[in-house]
């Protein structure tokens, strides 16, 4: 069966696309699926850094497209999982080095060899975006609960729908439950009522993400992390498993004790 090609996009920069790709890819690889992650952010690559594989880059995406190397030469195997690969972007080239048709061709070839192909889309809606969505059949839009990110996500969803990419899912990243309760941050319901696409999952705000990025070990491997767990559940839902969404906020032991004292 051909693999699924999924593009992770957002419009706005810095909302967590690369982190999402790294974590979902890792989570699926942990479950023994064969996964390749393509960094389509030519010129500003960071998927390699987040995965801790930046020292192993010899060839990159543009080299494959230009025929300077075979696909296998550019694919870098992950340190922990033998079934997880990344194809890094070129740092010294620009987005115009690749055309949408070429991306489509590459993704079609990879679909016969892998279960999952993830494309880490660059920010924006120009050439880089068009390249990234060309080969994909599914899109995961990442947004944070702030007006500017949601405005951009809405625009991107409109562009995806216009490009006939109708299988669109949403991830709300960096949700701070305390702020939502206080009314300082938009809630999940507010966001979905505006964007109107099915919710794949909510990832809570977490300091651990920065630490894991610096170390190059995705959070999905950390059992104790709430954000890591959220990514694992998202990966499971993407795979078709029935993992119910966490609508009520998990109350911790400390909160329970506080309520008892103050009631």
């Amino acid at each position: 069966m051909a693999g699924k090609t999924i593009v992770v996009t957002s419009g706005k920069g810095g909302v967590g696309k690369t982190t999402t790709v790294a974590n979902i890819g890792t989570a699926l690889a942990k479950r023994k699926y064969s996964v390749v992650m393509i960094d389509a952010d030519i010129g500003l690559r960071n998927l390699d850094v987040v995965m801790g594989l930046e020292n192993r880059i010899v060839y990159n995406l543009v080299d494959i497209i230009e025929g300077k190397c075979r696909k296998q030469q550019a694919m870098i195997r992950d340190r922990k999982f033998a079934n997880l690969f990344i194809i890094p972007a070129a740092q010294t080239r620009e987005k115009t080095a690749v055309k949408p048709e070429q991306m489509k061709e590459l993704c079609a070839e990879l679909a016969s060899e892998f279960d999952y192909i993830f494309i880490d889309c660059p920010a924006g809606i120009e050439q880089g975006f068009k390249n990234a969505i060309a080969g994909a059949e599914t899109a995961v839009v990442v947004t944070t609960p702030e007006v500017s990110a949601i405005r951009d996500a809405d625009r991107v969803i409109g562009l995806l729908e216009a490009d006939s990419l109708k299988d669109i899912h949403l991830i709300i990243n960096r949700l701070n439950h305390r702020m939502v309760k206080k009314g300082d941050m938009m809630s999940t319901e507010d966001i979905i009522s505006l964007l109107a696409v099915p919710l794949l999952g909510v990832v809570p705000e977490s300091d651990e993400v920065v630490v894991s990025t610096n170390r190059g070990t995705p959070l999905a491997l950390d059992r104790g992390s709430k954000a890591g767990l959220a990514f694992q559940q998202i990966a499971a839902r993407l795979n078709g498993d029935n993992v119910p969404l966490d609508t009520a906020q998990k109350v911790t032991l400390v909160d329970r004790v506080k309520r008892f004292i103050w009631s």
């Binding site: 405005r151 562009l159 729908e161």
Partner: protein
């Protein structure tokens, strides 16, 4: 070759345009340079109008001839040129410090109206959009426009007739884009970034979360855009 009141022209005298177009709150003032030949004035005007036709359309202009007197036939030619080619309203010609020729009654300032056919055709069916208008989407209709869905912030719906939204209006809606002030905007809930009817613009009051499911109409009352809520 110098001006009488000592005004200096920016840049090289040889490069200065034969006619300065100055903008102020009432409209534009054309000031021909004191020594510019008449043909240069005409040529310059024609060039400006062909380059930026829409910008000057329906603008009100004053011709300031205090520094550079013109003969009456030259004034008439310029007048025809302004009205026919530029679709400008020449309101006044200043002949001297205290002497001015009033050509047309100046009206209230008319702000720029977007490029939509100004002929409303009530016999034509409305344009119906069958999905939500997402950010960045622009819909233009020369009759009414019905949106079966929301209009998200960043989207624009422009109609010469009415705008009807079967959902939340959160973007920009412009009804009566051709100048029809009796046009209305209807929506299940109006929480727009901007409302425009004909030549009036309204911005919603800041703050406050809007109430749940209601039915609202925006129309012009007393020269202002008012929003009326009808509970469903």
């Amino acid at each position: 070759m110098d001006s009488h009141d000592g005004k200096t022209e920016a840049g090289n005298l040889g490069d200065a345009p034969p006619l300065q177009i100055k903008a102020n709150r009432q409209g534009f003032t054309l000031v021909p340079a004191p020594t510019a030949p008449f043909e240069a004035l005409v040529g310059y005007l024609e060039k400006r109008f062909s380059e930026s036709r829409d910008f000057f359309r329906r603008a009100e202009m004053t011709l300031d001839l205090r520094e550079r007197p013109l003969r009456t036939d030259e004034i008439a030619l310029l007048h025809r040129l302004l009205v026919d080619r530029g679709q400008v309203r020449l309101v006044e010609v200043k002949l001297g410090e205290d002497l001015a020729l009033v050509m047309d009654r100046p009206s209230e300032r008319q702000p720029f109206v977007p490029r939509v056919s100004p002929r409303p055709r009530p016999d034509h069916a409305a344009l119906v959009i069958h999905n939500t208008c997402r950010s960045g989407m622009r819909v233009v209709s020369d009759t009414d426009c019905v949106v079966l869905g929301d209009v998200n912030p960043g989207a624009e719906v422009i109609a010469v007739g009415n705008v009807i939204v079967f959902g939340n209006l959160r973007g920009v809606a412009h009804a009566g884009a051709g100048g029809d002030r009796s046009a209305r905007i209807w929506a299940l809930s109006i929480e727009p970034s901007q409302l425009r009817i004909a030549d009036l613009v309204a911005v919603p009051p800041r703050g406050g979360k809007p109430a749940a499911k209601r039915y609202e109409i925006a129309e012009i009352q007393d020269n202002l855009i008012e929003v009326i809520t009808l509970k469903g």
